[in-house]
């Protein structure tokens, strides 16, 4: 898969205050999550990629276009859903989305047709002639999504798209994003502080901390790497049990009193762990598959990543 975003020593400062500190990475996934604590630089990175802020050092390429030299060409292929409430006063949803389509270069009549399509797609078909001021928060979020996809961008940047949504609206938003992702027509950069949302939608995750890259992981590969990993709690002769497991090719990493993280040896099954425990005079109290959740990855990245804790 081709790189959708390439950061090349990207540095952004506001006055003397550095916000992004020499970021270098190539992002290639279908849906890339952008995570980080408040003030990590997520929104600044998005705004810089869109050309709203000038880099003070380095550069970035989005869809192959350099953001310093070809910002306009780049933005033709990008759709953006801002984090904050954003609309144009005294406009209906269909008017707003049509205007945005026309500004992206779609002729007037086709823009109107596309506006209807986009609003039906996001589920605002029946409310498309209502003024945006009368919309609920969830509806405004959907209208923002509609305007971000109306011109068929190749990259859709979603900044906190589920912010403030109630559970059904959040579910609807995530389903729409997944539908766009699975259509293969557009790649997605999904910025959120809600780990569950990112985990559900994204395949790759870029974690920022203090303006630096703390981690970049492919969730699927990470899951595969964790296959055969178990969390075990045992009693009895634990030392003999650990030695026996190591003798059978297992990797045992202590994870607290009587608890360890266990990676099974080649060809081994969980049932054999019980047999080894019995032969070592130990009792297995708990044995569960261990898979790093995004929360674990996020936490590890913040502790161990390049950003210091």
């Amino acid at each position: 898969m081709t790189n959708v975003i390439e950061l090349d020593n990207l540095t952004v400062s506001f006055g003397a205050r550095p916000i992004l500190k020499g970021l270098s990475i190539a992002l290639a996934g279908r849906a890339i999550g952008l995570l980080g604590p408040n003030g990590a630089g997520k929104t600044t990175l998005i705004h810089t990629l869109l050309g709203f802020h000038k880099p003070s050092g380095g550069t970035a390429r989005v869809l192959g276009f350099d953001i310093r030299r070809d910002a306009i060409s780049m933005r033709a292929g990008v759709g953006y859903m801002p984090e904050r409430d954003a609309y144009i006063a005294e406009m209906t949803a269909v008017h707003l989305v049509r205007l945005m389509a026309e500004l992206s270069g779609i002729p007037s009549e086709a823009a109107l047709e596309r506006a209807h399509e986009a609003l039906f797609f996001v589920g605002l078909g029946e409310a498309r002639y209502r003024g945006l001021e009368t919309y609920s928060l969830g509806m405004k979020q959907l209208a923002k999504l509609a305007q971000s996809i109306v011109h068929s961008p190749k990259l859709i940047i979603l900044d906190e798209p589920t912010n403030g949504l109630d559970p059904p609206a959040r579910r609807r938003m995530l389903d729409l994003v997944k539908q766009i992702r699975d259509s293969g027509h557009a790649r997605i950069l999904f910025s959120s502080h809600l780990l569950r949302d990112v985990e559900e939608v994204c395949e790759d995750v870029l974690i920022l901390r203090d303006g630096q890259i703390a981690s970049y992981v492919n969730l699927e590969e990470d899951r595969k790497a964790n296959e055969g990993a178990l969390e075990i709690e045992a009693s009895g002769d634990i030392d003999a049990f650990a030695l026996a497991l190591a003798g059978r090719g297992c990797s045992v990493t202590p994870a607290g009193p009587r608890r360890a993280r266990l990676t099974l040896g080649e060809g081994m099954t969980a049932t054999q762990v019980f047999e080894i425990a019995a032969s070592s005079s130990a009792q297995v109290r708990r044995l569960v598959p261990k898979r790093d959740s995004l929360e674990d990855i996020f936490h590890k990245a913040l502790v161990n990543g390049r950003g210091s804790l």
Partner: protein, 286 residues
């Protein structure tokens, strides 16, 4: 794709040329602007003076009509530089009223509702955004100033004969450039105020103040220092001076045209600087 097919499909049709996209803004804005009955009424009334002027020009050249109304030719205003100076000055008042209705909300509403990122995240520059907003005001003001002015000159030239136009070429440039000076000042001032004052009603008050306060200040300076150079701080005095110079009229003015032009260019430059400063997708807190 039919609208009832709720799936995501890309657009594959042709795109409009890039240079023309700033015109999307005035096309959509003008539709909204004329929803206001007050503005529509003011806009309609602003054509009364050009209509009366056209009738006067017609009467000047129609003896039969004069005799019907029993009017001596001397009772009519002469069709000279004074006639067109009065035309531009009167229409400038209507231009100001229209600007007062239209201008302040143009950028202010986008700033209030955080609409700028929606525009500027597209293949659309800040310059195009400002040009688009400017076009809304410029188009409306052109319709009530130099466009009818040119028609009046055309009517006079048609009735008087082609040689009149040759003898009065300064009138053509005076009405055209004099109107454009007003349009440039009013539209730039309106957008600059709109970019700084987020509430449209407050922006209207600020724009009204920008017209009244400098004139009052100019009067105070002139009175206090027994001079006429105070007119330099009033864009109205400056524009009058420039118009008089363009038309070759003999009306007495406060300040010479050269310094007045410099003052106007400075004001327009300051408005452009203010717009460049304020029209950004996001404000950066340093």
């Amino acid at each position: 794709m039919a609208v009832y097919e709720h799936s995501y499909a890309p657009y594959t049709g042709a795109l409009t040329p890039r240079w023309s996209r700033f015109l999307v803004i005035p096309r959509h804005a003008v539709r909204e602007v004329f929803r206001s009955r007050l503005l529509t009424g003011t806009f309609a009334i602003s054509f009364v003076y050009p209509l009366v002027s056209a009738i006067l020009i017609y009467l000047h050249h129609n003896i039969n009509a004069l005799s019907i109304f029993e009017l001596p030719v001397r009772a009519l205003l002469p069709i000279d530089s004074g006639f067109f100076q009065a035309y531009v000055s009167t229409q400038a008042i209507f231009a100001f009223l229209i600007t007062l209705f239209v201008g302040p909300a143009l950028i202010a509403s986008d700033l209030t509702n955080n609409g700028l990122p929606l525009y500027l995240a597209r293949p659309f520059t800040r310059f195009e955004y400002i040009a688009g907003k400017l076009t809304v005001v410029v188009a409306l003001l052109s319709a009530v100033t130099w466009l009818p002015g040119m028609l009046l000159i055309g009517l006079q030239a048609y009735l008087e004969g082609g040689s009149w136009l040759v003898r009065h070429l300064p009138l053509v440039s005076g009405v055209f450039f004099g109107s454009w000076m007003w349009i440039a000042v009013l539209s730039m001032l309106a957008l600059a105020v709109s970019a700084f004052v987020r509430r449209a009603i407050a922006a209207r008050a600020a724009l009204f103040g920008a017209m009244i306060v400098p004139s009052a200040l100019a009067a105070v300076i002139n009175f206090s220092f027994r001079t006429t150079w105070g007119g330099l701080v009033s864009f109205r005095s400056c524009l009058d001076s420039i118009l008089v110079a363009l038309l070759g009229s003999e009306t007495r003015v406060d300040v010479p045209a050269g310094p007045a032009l410099f003052s106007i260019l400075l004001l327009v430059g300051m408005c452009a600087g203010a717009l460049a400063l304020r029209v950004r997708a996001y404000e950066v807190v340093r």
